[in-house]
Symmetry: C2
Subunit: 406 residues, 2 copies
């Protein structure tokens, strides 16, 4: 498996566009299309929120049915959530407008929305946008980047990742984009992500591999524990590389690894770009009896407001880390726990068997001042581990969210 | 039942003191004693954190045994958590020092600590403090207030509440104090609370009534979802009023009501004094099939960082409220939900059957600018309701917690 540069257009047979439809924003891209030259199998994972936006319900039905699709249309600015029947209508309108432009059936077009809740999409900008999308649709990295930009809301940078692998002498490509920096939480956030591959993969294998990849990536990040109404991650496989791949093949393991690289890379970009964040916080919990326990513990640490503010203040307040492990709802012996802080040049043991070492506060503050703060928690009780990603909690977060709508 | 002024010394036969022992702080009270003139039954509820401070483990054993006690010694500044055997020793030392001064057995003295994690109590200030406590021990409201002040950490105000009721012509009194403004979360927080009553109540009835009262009060508040290592709520009943009371008595219901008033009053004071908070947020979830569901939903709303920042910004961002209800893990039909904002002079319906009404943003902002923000969620699916209390998330919270230890 090779890490690559690129995004949603990296895989063969995928085109993209990002345009200014003026749905809510002026002077910036707010509508995107990811298009496959060939019918593509599609897998999806969606928000677990009881309150689901219109596009989520719409996509879930299509993914459930398992018929091939041709594209995904996405918009930013308006989430089309809590909009009732009017919202469902305007969502169908978005799919229909794009389908009409592209000459396919509406149910071959998936939809995704992100932005403010409670406002339905207005149709004239959508209609205009659909026309622009067709015009701008293109191959190549630039078109992928335009799409990645068009789905941003409070994101400060577009998020892309790509990887390739060799299967029977042919290159298989995977590329993806995502957005999300607020309402980000395990079990997904106002995150939208579209990942594409040119391998030929069955619907059921695709769904399984996506679900597994999401568990260790998007579901292991958190900015603010708020799970949104719109979270959507779609994986399209169009077979353009001419290589059929399935879980019985020996190369499947490498494909899984490559997909995981793409999803983890996107997830880490999202956590690092958390609303108001200065630092990426990476917490690994090692040596637990079960991987699910390690996941819960790692997530508990990255979601603690007290840990997040300590990281912001570069304060090695390890008591808050131990405390966050303690209330996660998983049993362990606190007097076995070791905690390390891992910097670029040094690794500092803060806690040994549940108690403070005589570490240097000055050195610890130095490590905590790096842009990526890595915490290693050795629970000394098993062989399983998990990593979660979050960010610091800053004045800026409060500012952004105290005044998001206006 | 009558609401009264007073705190932990309001009930007959209870004395208190708060002194400067210089455990960590200089120039402020940091050690308190609540003392009963007679042996008292004691009930307790404690943190559910796996990581438990030394005083928590110590108190749990005493409460479990059910023998009468004489007092509670509390300190602020140092939590004596994650301190291993040394911490257990210094905790026992604190009980012993007070027991020696007061001429009772060490196991008749409960302990509680709050403050920074990972530092054990140093014994010389404790010894000095024990002597001072004996000297300052007094009846009356002033002594109770001194104790309430001595247990404060980042609290900005002392917290006290009291109530009385008439039982067979005799007045039964209940009074309490608590502290806590950070690490506050349902299933208890670095909150310490001592409540006293002069009724004569059996150990088992006392434990049951406290557990129930905590469910609807301390376990329904949150400042930052961080459940601490030290949370302790103790209820002492010394029988000084000469009235025996139990759950089979007709007056029990009124006692339960009075105790609930005291615990809810203390809980609300803690939420309002949340670290950096400007506003108290009160969320009532009504019309759910089961009370436990209503509790989960109400807590989900008050703990959402996005709701908390919207309250800070006086932004009627009802989508975040609906979203927080949606990810609580309780099933409901979003298209039945009504949301009201309740101000001093007006009640504004923001959402009707899951969708925005045409409410005035200006009026909504006015209501949201009041010091107490009340949200009413009508789920339209049953007869049960619950109320939770939280606070807004502000710059000041980030500031306090980005630099708490230094």
């Amino acid at each position: 498996m090779k890490q690559e540069n690129g995004g949603v257009t990296f895989a063969e047979g995928f085109l993209a566009a990002g345009v200014e439809a003026n749905i809510k924003y002026k002077d910036r891209k707010d509508m995107a299309l990811v298009w496959s030259e060939f019918p593509a199998q599609v897998a999806g994972t969606f928000t677990t929120n009881v309150v689901k936006a219109a596009p989520v319900v719409y996509d879930q039905e299509i993914v459930q049915k398992g018929d091939p699709v041709r594209g995904v249309v996405l918009n930013s600015g308006i989430a089309n959530a809590c909009t009732g029947e009017e919202g469902r209508k305007s969502n169908r309108f978005m799919a229909e407008a794009v389908a009409k432009e592209m000459g396919v059936q509406p149910l071959e077009i998936l939809t995704a929305s992100t932005g403010v809740i409670g406002v339905p999409l207005v149709t004239p900008p959508i209609e205009k946008g659909a026309g622009l999308l067709k015009k701008c649709l293109d191959k190549g990295l630039e078109a992928g980047l335009a799409a990645a930009k068009a789905i941003m809301t409070t994101d400060t940078v577009p998020k892309e990742a790509a990887a390739s692998l060799d299967v029977r002498g042919t290159t298989i490509k995977i590329g993806g984009m995502s957005k999300g920096s607020g309402m980000i939480h395990p079990n997904m956030a106002t995150m939208l992500s579209v990942i594409t591959t040119d391998a030929d993969i069955s619907h059921s294998d695709l769904q399984e591999v996506l679900k597994d990849a999401v568990k260790d990536s998007f579901n292991m990040i958190s900015v603010d524990r708020d799970t949104s109404t719109n979270d959507t991650c779609l994986l399209l496989a169009n077979g353009a590389a001419g290589i059929s791949l399935g879980k019985k093949d020996p190369e499947w393991k490498e494909f899984v690894q490559a997909l995981r690289y793409v999803t983890v890379a996107l997830a880490k970009q999202m956590a690092a770009d958390g609303e108001g964040a200065n630092k990426l916080l990476e917490v690994t919990v090692d040596h637990m009896p079960r991987v699910e326990q390690a996941r819960i513990l790692a997530k508990s640490v990255i979601t603690s407001n007290l840990v997040k503010t300590a990281v912001y203040g570069s304060d090695a307040n390890w008591g808050r880390i131990l405390c966050a492990l303690g209330y996660a709802g998983v049993e362990f012996d606190p007097e076995l726990v070791n905690l390390d802080l891992i910097g670029t040049d040094q690794r500092i043991r803060l806690v040994s068997k549940g108690m403070a070492t005589d570490y240097s506060e000055e050195e610890a503050t130095k490590v905590l001042s790096e842009p990526v703060v890595k915490v290693y928690c050795d629970m000394a009780s098993g062989d399983e581990s998990a990593t979660a990603w979050g960010c610091d909690l800053t004045y800026e977060y409060v500012k952004i969210n105290g005044d998001y709508r206006s």
